[in-house]
Amino acid sequence: MEPIGAYIHIPFCVKKCPYCDFYSLPLNEELVSAYVFSLCKNIKDLSRVYEREIDSIYFGGGTPNLIGVDNIGRILDAVHCGFKVLNPEITVEINPSAHTNIDFRKLKNTGVNRLSIGMQSINDNELFNLGRRHNSHDIKQTLYKAKNAGFYNISLDVMLALPNQKDEDLINSLSFCVENNLPHVSAYLLKIEKNTDFYKIKNILPLPDEERTADLYLLASDYLTSRGYEHYEISNFCRKGMESRHNLKYWNCDEYLGFGSSAHSFMNGKRFYYPRSIEKFIENPVYVMDSTGGDTKEFCMLRLRLAEGIKNEEYKQRFGENIPDIYYDRARKYVDSGLVSVDESGINLTPRGFLVSNALVVDIIY
């Protein structure tokens, strides 16, 4: 059996960012202790249900560094106790202010070997407008300290299509990643989600229009790929071989177990999650069944997020048949306009196709 991934959700933030709709709460020491305790128990309980090997552990949030290195260590101990952990990639999402509250050497000693830093932008004016508490100095400090402690596998988040974003602004942030020789960049398009502060003021935000947004996205793709990065997933770039192991599990339709409130799992063909309530999770974690997963449509939908696309060989291995002809027929309609590539080995989207991937997937697969 293939090893699975473990996702651990840490729902604490110093302050909610105005564009973020992830589950998070203000930091509270007592709550943190109780939550970490429940997480460890949850890991232990699920390890008895799923006797599987783990090769990736991911701390997402929220702001996972807020719970402190000791707590991260406790949680990792629980994982090691319950599961067989093989040569793992262990990622922690941290924010750029982490240099003020994290001992990176200690963090390294817990076994964490990858950091994902929520930089968003290197431009102070953009950071201010995004309501972020950090500035470019914090980013540099955190990066410096992390590298000094021996972290090399680092990913930076860059946000695209910010209000009033100019080409130079975006290139500034991207060139910062390139110059620091970072192996991984996540470049997300800003999306105005309901129930966020940005949503309330979306009509007055000077957001770029559809054309401009698309241009910024393609600019990022061209800029990074011409500098040795692979645009391996809709929103992710990496140096060769440096893909995020955890995220690949999502897009490969592989299995993962999520621990903590609002954490999602995919195991044995079932998708389920814990509700967005830390209190409920602490009291008694009960997961909610979501949907069945792993069918052909879902597999194709997920795999088309990857530059690799749907490979005939893998499709055959997984489902015992070739990619349906109808998918090919529909995909071919978009080859001339440069949205899709089709060949013997399979179907994949181009960067321009990524930009309209919802419409393409609905047309080709659904």
Binding site: Y188, T213, N247, H264, D290, V356, N358, A359, V361, V362
Partner: protein, 603 residues
């Protein structure tokens, strides 16, 4: 005259829309005790939700009740409520022909309006005694003396003794009943002559079959009689007959001269029992039918399609059911490359069309798409043949058209004089021919135009209302055909003609309309994965062009912590949205794009 007949009064109530006809009918029924308070609902005679909501009467209704008059006698009153709209003019005329008198309700603040006149003339044509009534006298703006004079001046009937009532509060409504007793004559007619019963309405009941509402002019009829419909020639045995109570049928078994009631005879199709036809006895038939019968023909046509193609059988069932109660509605199957399978339906007018559309949607829970309304054009071909065209799809190639004619109307608009400029501007814009203008009083005018019918069927009412802040009233009748410079305007999407969007239009207006339609479609058609050109053209010549640019961005950038279900749901929703679109070649068009191009004016 038999004593029985002496105490019968058959009457209608006629009024302009909103002048309080249905409310007055309610009060009269209440006062006479024809309905108990328990049964009393506002606008009792307006059975359909649609009638109550819009405050209009669509179907004719009739009710029989007793009134104990001040002279100590009991009278049988037959109130025949008529539709108040020009689309149903013929039905109105038949209802009026079933009466000896009409109560003319005039709003004491608004005065005489277009439909007041039209309906009064219809009543006078039928030789009816008119009983004017001033309503809404409790309104602060009521000016009964002025309106009284207006009635006398414009209509030419005495109105000084007209009851001044408030149907809403019930004030003086009894005076109306007394006036009916005194002023409206008792019915004439011979009870011992062969049966002549005038059908003034009919409806379909799933148990009894067609129920014909009749006024017995001569003779009598009873259960078991073999009857004959003189226009259609069909014969049936009467299974039930009786009078119409306010809330139910009362099968008393026999009807005779002067009475109003219903006849049921296990009749399966409503077209057998058409409004205006005469029923007689098969064994002892009348020599000739009552005058005035004509088959009403639809004037306005449009395609009706289910939004969801799989609902075609449901749509067919629904239209067939509506047809059971509506002899004037016509339909035949039609196919469109854009909209699939549907029906070409014919209507008496725009209101009739709207009512049918609304009933399909509300009573039968169907989502429908309708195409642009069309009228009947007369096309003379170069080979001398004349064809009638009610569907743009069948419009001949311009090369074989020698001449084209379009139906005209004779239209009157009543309005405060402040809006003369606006109204004339609107009528000129609609290719109207000015006939004349009369002052009704110092500040109200009757503007008389000849207007092409096809200019009225596109939201003329809405435009008139908005240009006169709702103060103008409008009435028209058909007035023959006129030679016209017509063209067929086609819309092409991605190079393909969309048949459901084609229509016939005057050449001078084609350019502007084509341009507006292309703009509107650009607004309504969402970006697709490729560029979509929209072109308006006349016979291959492109007169307007717009482009829907290719979609640039439609992506979910984030994965939301492995929440794949959320993403799947989003894509499924998107797929559902796609299904609701119409697929035309490669292009997806939202349903409302078809409707939106029908209402372009005033923008």
């Amino acid at each position: 005259m038999s004593d029985k007949k002496k105490f019968i009064r058959n009457f209608s109530i006629i009024a302009h829309i909103d002048h309080g006809k249905s409310t007055l009918a309610d009060r009269i029924l209440e006062l006479s005790g024809a309905v108990s308070n328990r049964e009393m609902e506002d606008q009792l005679l307006d059975n359909m939700d649609l009638e109550r909501e819009r405050g209009i009467t669509i179907k004719s209704h009739a009710v029989t009740f007793q009134y104990h008059a001040d002279d100590g006698q009991n009278y049988t009153f037959n109130l025949i409520d008529t539709p108040g709209h020009v689309d149903f003019n013929y039905e109105v005329s038949r209802s009026l022909a079933s009466c000896e008198g009409a109560v003319l309700v005039v709003d004491a603040s608004q005065g005489v309006e277009a439909q007041t006149l039209a309906n009064t003339y219809l009543a006078l044509d039928s030789g009816l005694e008119i009983v004017p009534v001033l309503n809404k006298i409790d309104l602060p703006s009521a000016d009964p003396d002025r309106v009284c004079k207006e009635i006398e001046d414009i209509i030419g009937i005495p109105a000084e003794d007209a009851p001044r009532v408030s149907a809403k509060s019930g004030l003086n409504v009894k005076d109306v009943l007394e006036s009916i007793v005194k002023l409206i004559p008792a019915p004439k007619g011979k009870t011992d002559a062969p049966l002549k019963a005038l059908i003034f309405d009919s409806l379909y009941d799933s148990y009894k079959g067609v129920i014909a509402y009749v006024r017995i002019v001569d003779g009598k009829v009873k259960v078991g009689d073999k009857i004959k419909f003189m226009a259609s020639g069909a014969e049936f045995i009467v299974t039930e007959c009786g009078i119409l109570r306010a809330t139910d049928l009362d099968p008393i078994g026999t009807l005779s001269s002067g009475e109003v009631g219903y006849i049921a005879a296990s009749i399966k199709t409503i077209s057998t029992s058409r409004v205006g036809d005469t029923i007689t006895l098969a064994e002892n038939p009348a020599d000739e039918p009552l005058p005035g019968y004509r088959a009403v023909n639809p004037m306005v046509f449009c395609g009706v399609y289910p939004s969801d193609g799989s609902k075609y059988p449901d749509l067919r069932d629904a239209i067939e059911k509506l047809k059971l109660n509506d002899a004037a509605l016509t339909f035949e199957p039609e196919t469109s490359t854009a909209l699939g399978f549907g029906f070409r339906c014919g209507f008496l007018g725009l209101l009739h069309m709207e009512i049918i559309q609304e009933r399909l949607e509300r009573e039968y829970n169907l989502d429908i798409i309708t195409t642009a309304p069309s009228v009947i054009y007369k096309i003379t071909k170069t080979d001398g043949e004349t064809v009638l065209i009610d569907n743009p799809t069948n419009y001949p190639d311009s090369a074989v058209i020698a001449s084209a004619q379009e139906p005209m109307t004779d239209a009157h608009i009543y309005s405060p004089s402040d809006y003369i400029g606006n109204i004339m501007e609107l009528c000129q814009d609609r290719r109207g021919i000015y006939i004349g203008m009369d002052y009704i009083d110092t500040d109200r005018v009757d503007i008389h135009y000849k207007l092409p019918l096809n200019e009225i069927v596109y939201d003329f009412f809405d435009a008139l209302k908005s240009k006169t802040r709702g103060y103008a009233s409008f009435d028209y009748e058909l007035d023959g055909y006129k030679k016209s410079d017509l063209v067929k305007l086609d819309i092409m999407l991605n190079g393909e003609v969309v048949d459901a969007l084609s229509f016939i239009i005057h050449k001078d207006k084609a350019y502007e309309r084509g341009r507006k339609m292309a703009q509107k479609l650009k607004e309504k058609i969402p970006r697709q994965l490729f560029e979509v050109p929209i072109q308006a053209c006349i016979g291959g010549k492109i007169i307007a062009r717009e482009t829907v640019k290719a979609m640039r961005k439609d992506v979910l950038a984030k994965c939301y912590g492995g929440d794949i279900t959320r993403k799947k749901k989003l894509l499924e929703k998107q797929k559902e949205g796609k299904k609701r679109m119409r697929q035309l070649g490669n292009v997806e068009i939202p349903q409302d794009a078809f409707m939106s191009v029908l209402k372009l004016d005033g923008e």
